[in-house]
Amino acid sequence: MLGQIALIAFAQRAPDHVFGFQMFNASSELKITLYRQIHMYGKPYRLSVQHAAWQARDKNKVTHAFRWNDRVHDGVLGQLDTFVHASYGLDAQLFRLQFALNDVAAHIPDDAETDALVAVVETVKNGRERATVELTAERP
C-alpha cells in the first residue's frame, strides 16, 4: 500500500500520470500533421506527408513506400490530419508522440531522402487555449 501511495505521488510528475488513477482528466484535442525534412541542393525543405504515407528512394535509387501506421498502431497517435481526443491529456500524448516519431525515424532504413520527421501538433486544451507544438526526430 505504501508502494501504491509512492506510485501515485510519482504519477503526478509523469506526463501521462501512469499509475496515478487520474480518471477522465482532460477534454483536450490534438491534430498531428506530419512532415519529412529533406535537403536539396544543400537547402532543407519540408514535405507534407499526405494520408500518413510517403514514397522515398534508398541509396540505390530504388523507390519504397512507407506508412506511419506500419509502426504506430496507437488509437490516438495513429491518426494524422484530424482532431482526436487526447486521452490522458495533451502532455501524455505529446510525450508519447516524441517516442513514436523517434521510433518511426529509426525504422525507415530504406528512406535515404528523409533527414528527420517533424510533427506539427495543433492542440486545444479543454476547449479553450489553442497552441501549436513542433516535435522533431532526426534519423539515427
Binding site: 500500500m1 503526478q12 496515478g20 488513477f21 487520474q22 477534454s27 518511426v104 479543454n126 476547449g127
Partner: protein, 373 residues
C-alpha cells in the same frame, strides 16, 4: 488506531463473500485477457511495432512467450472462476497481467491496472473457501469457512486509494474543478445524440451545456469521490456510500467508455459487505401467493446470502403483514420497512432502497400522527 490495526490483523470472519469476489474478479480478468488475446490475434505482437515499455526493454517478452503468457492469464482466470487452485490462479493471472502492463505503456489504462491490483490483493483473502467447483456439493460449513481476513482491509484500502487519487487529481486541476472539462464533455454528448437523431428539448440542452451546471457537477463528482474514499469505511455511512457508488458508476457506464471499470468497482464493493451470512431473518406468510413467489426469487438471487428465509403461517394474523424482516440487531420490520430492509441487502433491489426507506418512514409517521389523540 494501533489497537484497531491489530484487531484487523487478527480478525477471523466468514469467507463466503470472498469466494464470490474471487469469481467475479475472475470473470473480469478473463474478459480482460480475452481482449488482449483478441488484440494480439488482430494486430499481432505489440513488440513488432512501436511500443513503450516501462520495464527495461530486455525484460519485454518475445512473441512466443507473450502469447504463452496471455494464454496462461486466460486459463488462470478461468481456474479462479471455477475455484480450481483458486488463490494461486487469481495471483497468477493478476501478476501476469501486471507484468504485461509494464511491458507496454500504451496498453496502460487505469481501469486495467485497478482490476489487476484488486485481483492481486484478493488472492491473499481466504477466497478459496466458497464457490468452488472442486468441492461441488461438499460446500464448507459457515464454521469451516471462518479464516483470517486481514487482506480484505487491503482490498478496501485499494478501493479508497482509487477514489482518493482520482478526486485529488481532479481537485488539483483548475479546468476540472471549474467544470471546463465536463462542459466540453457535455457538448460532445449533445453532438453525439444529435448525430444519432435524438432530439433533446432546447431548455434541457441549455441547462446541460450551461457553465454553472458543468461547474456544479464537477464539484459534485469530486465531493462524491472523496466521500466514497472515506465513507465506505464508516459503518454509519457505508450503505449510503455504496448506494451512491452504484449509481455513480451506472452513470459513468452510460456516459463514457471505461472498459470494465464500472463492473470492477461494483465487484470491489463486495469487500465492504459484512462477511457473516444469513444474519437477517425473513419470514413470509405462505398463504400469500405474491409472498411465496417473492421468496422463490429471493432465495435464488440472494447471492450475498444475507437472508435466512422461513415461512410463518401466522404472520399475517400476528404481525399484520405478509413479510417480516428481523435485522442484525434484532429489530423486526413489517410492511414497507420490511421491503426497505430487503432492498438494502438484496443487490437486484439495492438501487431502490432509499426510496423504499423513505416511503416506510413517511407511512410510519402518518400512522403515528393518525394514532395520536
Amino acid at each position: 488506531m494501533s489497537s484497531r490495526g491489530s484487531a484487523w490483523l487478527r480478525e477471523e470472519r466468514d469467507a463466503y463473500v470472498f469466494g464470490l469476489l474471487r469469481c467475479a474478479l475472475g470473470v473480469l480478468l478473463f474478459l480482460q485477457a480475452s481482449r488482449a488475446l483478441s488484440d494480439w490475434w488482430d494486430s499481432g505482437y505489440f513488440g513488432d511495432y512501436w511500443h513503450l515499455p516501462i520495464v527495461p526493454a530486455s525484460l519485454v517478452p518475445s512473441h512466443g512467450v507473450y502469447a504463452g503468457l496471455l494464454a496462461f492469464e486466460l486459463v488462470a482466470a478461468a481456474c479462479a472462476i471455477a475455484g480450481v487452485w483458486s488463490r494461486a490462479a487469481l495471483l497468477g493471472s493478476s501478476t501476469t497481467g501486471l507484468y504485461l502492463l509494464l511491458c507496454d505503456r500504451l496498453q496502460y489504462h487505469n481501469n486495467r491496472y485497478a482490476l489487476l491490483l484488486i485481483a492481486f490483493l484478493t488472492a491473499f483473502t481466504p477466497c478459496d473457501r466458497s464457490f468452488s467447483a472442486r468441492r461441488g456439493a461438499r460446500a464448507l460449513s459457515p464454521e469451516a469457512r471462518r479464516a483470517p481476513t486481514w487482506a480484505r482491509r487491503l482490498v478496501q484500502a485499494q478501493v479508497s486509494l482509487i477514489y482518493g487519487a482520482s478526486a485529488l487529481g481532479k481537485l488539483a486541476d483548475p479546468d476540472w474543478r471549474g467544470g471546463q472539462v465536463l462542459a466540453i464533455r457535455y457538448l460532445h454528448t449533445l453532438s453525439y445524440l444529435a448525430s444519432q437523431g435524438v432530439r433533446v428539448p432546447r431548455w434541457l440542452a441549455d441547462v446541460y451545456t450551461s457553465p454553472w451546471y458543468a461547474s456544479a457537477t464537477a464539484k459534485g463528482a469530486i465531493s462524491l469521490e472523496l466521500f466514497l474514499a472515506l465513507g465506505l469505511w464508516q459503518p454509519r455511512t457505508r450503505r449510503f456510500a455504496l448506494w451512491l457508488g452504484v449509481l455513480f458508476h451506472f452513470g459513468i457506464e452510460l456516459s463514457a467508455r471505461v472498459e470494465l471499470f464500472s463492473w470492477l468497482m461494483w465487484t470491489a464493493y463486495l469487500a465492504f459487505v459484512t462477511p457473516e451470512c444469513r444474519e437477517r431473518l425473513l419470514e413470509v406468510d405462505p398463504r400469500s401467493r405474491v409472498a411465496r413467489l417473492a421468496t422463490v426469487v429471493l432465495r435464488r438471487l440472494d447471492i450475498l446470502a444475507r437472508f435466512d428465509v422461513h415461512e410463518n403461517a401466522d404472520l399475517l394474523t400476528s404481525a399484520g403483514s405478509i413479510v417480516r424482516v428481523t435485522d442484525r440487531s434484532g429489530h423486526a420490520h413489517t410492511g414497507w420497512a420490511a421491503y426497505a430492509q430487503i432492498a438494502s441487502a438484496f443487490p437486484p433491489l439495492f438501487a431502490a432502497w432509499p426510496l423504499l426507506a423513505m416511503l416506510a418512514t413517511f407511512r410510519e409517521r402518518r400512522q403515528r400522527s393518525a394514532a395520536a389523540p
